[in-house]
């Protein structure tokens, strides 16, 4: 499947990765090669084949709805780039 530069820009935006303008061409070429290789899948007849999400076909294990974890906010926030009063700081979002 051919993929254009504009589409790569759209995906990069969805993935929240900035691509420098000078690199868009190269990234597009590489991704096109990978998708070209992956396109072999389209030739396979998979009618009536159930998609396999887990190699052991295991289902999500449930546990009783009780608190088992201690609050470790301070330990977790100690490694954050910017915190204040127990909150993570990011650039202003609402005026």
């Amino acid at each position: 499947m051919a993929i254009g530069q504009d589409e790569i820009e759209k995906i990069a935006e969805l993935a929240r990765i900035r691509i420098a303008p000078g690199q868009i061409g190269d990234v597009t070429r590489r991704i096109t090669e990978i998708l070209g290789m992956v396109d072999q899948l389209q030739a396979v007849d998979t009618r009536d084949v159930e998609p396999m999400a887990n190699p052991l076909d295991a289902v999500q294990r449930l546990r009783p709805d009780i608190v088992t974890e201690q609050n470790q906010r301070e330990a977790f926030q100690a490694i954050a780039p910017a915190v204040e009063n127990g909150l993570y700081l990011v650039p202003r979002v609402v005026e």
Partner: protein
């Protein structure tokens, strides 16, 4: 001491032939002397090593030793270590000091094993050459112009060069087996769910699995005994009871039926490697096994299916790296969007970005059915191929890789060529099976690996077969000249 097996080191510690402090000092000294040529370690904390070794000596003296007490073990830098940087080979986590231990790390600490250091790897475990690390490429001890394989290349190189007696790795598409093959060591990827993934930085959650890397199957069994088991903190961890992997190592191979998939011996396999594999299979025959030709008809689809599923899961898993809670953050973001996009531009290397983009594309509206769902359907066909084979045979054998280690830089600029390296290993992860690589000879001084693939939870049988093979051969005892001091 450095040239002894883990089993021998355990015996030596127990017999007080040497202390854990002496043992660990020996490996620290070797790392200092030899690792500049290999770059197999990212982090080594000498004082922490010696403190843990001293504690181990006291525990041994008190008669309270567990099997691995006092044994130095290197860990791939993908496992979270409380208080010690866990980089995953990425700039994104260069400053990340985890507030907790991975379950695997806790298991080793509980046994009193000494955390010797954190090993280098492809960034976020995405690669087959250990060249994409933020900390620079790892070199192969057999020839430092060659790659060690990847992504657990640091662990493989460290063990091969006797900088550590054993190490851990992770395998999402071959990342334990392929570097084990390239470096001439033994490595096993257990069944999906056998070893806890908790605290192991996630790449592709339905494929990731941790395993041991060491010189011999016996040493791998000793480590796997400490690693395997149910973990309530990993939602896909298996509740099946764990066997003692050392107990059955000596079982006979008489009556063993080994399946040889004809697709693994086709045009892509290099002649030298094919010769080594065929000699190894003859050896297994001499030990009592029967060789049976089998077929895995969907083998040609493993690379395309894997390169949809793994990137799709990676794009989801790696969305957590946003510059807000931990890890790299770009300087002076003008707004939240700039914070996210520039942090991720700076923090991730080219291959990680490519996989995130491919995965995002495969999961995006309008393409999901054509890519992700299709790949998951093909994944089932691949698994069914194996199930059909295991009705005829007990294990499957073949080459781990199409050829031996290639030169540094040879494929680093061609992602698709690099992906083809994993042609024989990916299917094992897609099907969730255990697989291992066992040293099986050399081509022009470069090690070759024999791959053994077992039934789900058949690790003990694989280790048994590999052990018997190693009792009859000495490939696993060969050491690279740079590590024995014989290099000119």
């Amino acid at each position: 001491m450095h040239d002894k097996s883990v089993a021998q080191l355990i015996a030596g510690l127990r017999a007080r032939q040497f202390s854990s402090v002496e043992l660990n000092r020996c490996f620290l000294e070797r790392i200092k002397r030899l690792d500049p040529a290999l770059n197999s370690f990212i982090t080594v904390d000498e004082s922490a090593v010696l403190a843990a070794a001293e504690a181990a000596d006291q525990r041994i003296a008190a008669g309270a030793a567990a099997p691995l007490t006092g044994i130095p073990v290197a860990h791939k830098d993908i496992f979270c270590t409380q208080g010690m940087r866990t980089s995953c080979g990425s700039r994104m986590l260069d400053n990340f000091v985890p507030p907790y231990d991975a379950t695997l790390i806790s298991n080793f600490r509980r046994e009193g094993a000494v955390l010797l250091g954190k090993t280098n790897m492809d960034e976020f475990a995405m690669g087959s050459s250990s060249e994409s690390s933020f900390y620079g490429p790892v070199c192969n001890p057999w020839d430092t112009r060659l790659v060690p394989g990847g992504s657990s290349g640091g662990s493989a190189a460290a063990v091969a060069a006797m900088l550590a007696p054993a190490a851990t790795g992770t395998d999402t598409g071959g990342s334990i087996r392929q570097p084990a093959a390239f470096c001439g060591i033994t490595g096993i990827k257990p069944t999906y769910g056998r070893v806890s993934r908790r605290g192991m930085v996630a790449f592709a959650s339905s494929l990731d699995q941790a395993g041991p890397m060491a010189h011999s199957a016996e040493d791998c069994a000793l480590l796997l005994n400490c690693m395997a088991g149910f973990d309530p903190l990993d939602s896909t961890s298996s509740e099946l009871p764990v066997e003692d992997y050392c107990a059955g190592l000596d079982h006979t191979l008489a009556g063993l039926r080994i399946g040889l998939p004809r697709e693994y011996f086709g045009a892509g396999l290099e002649a030298g490697t094919a010769g080594c594999i065929s000699a190894a299979l003859k050896e297994l025959e001499a030990l009592g096994a029967t060789l049976v030709e089998v077929s895995l008809p969907h083998s040609h689809l493993t690379i395309p299916a894997y390169y949809v599923i793994a990137p799709a899961e990676a794009s989801t898993n790696l969305s957590r790296f946003d510059g807000v809670r931990y890890g790299h953050r770009c300087k002076d973001p003008v707004d939240l969007h700039d914070l996210y996009t520039r942090t991720r531009e700076e923090g991730f290397g080219p291959e990680v970005k490519r996989r995130i983009l491919v995965g995002t594309y495969a999961l995006s509206a309008g393409y999901y059915d054509a890519y992700y769902k299709k790949a998951q359907q093909v994944r089932r066909l691949i698994k069914q191929d194996f199930s059909a084979c295991f009705e005829q045979v007990d294990i499957i054998a073949g080459p781990t890789t199409p050829g031996p280690a290639f030169a540094l830089g040879a494929k680093s600029d061609d992602p698709v060529a690099m992906y083809l390296e994993d042609v024989y290993t990916l299917a094992v992860n897609l099907a969730g099976l255990p697989g291992m690589s066992v040293p099986a000879g050399f081509v022009d001084g470069r090690p070759v690996g024999l791959q053994l693939i077992g039934r789900h939870f058949g690790e003990a049988r694989l280790l048994n077969i590999a052990h018997r093979f190693q009792q009859a051969t000495d490939w696993h005892l060969r050491r690279p000249p740079m590590a024995t001091g014989e290099a000119s």
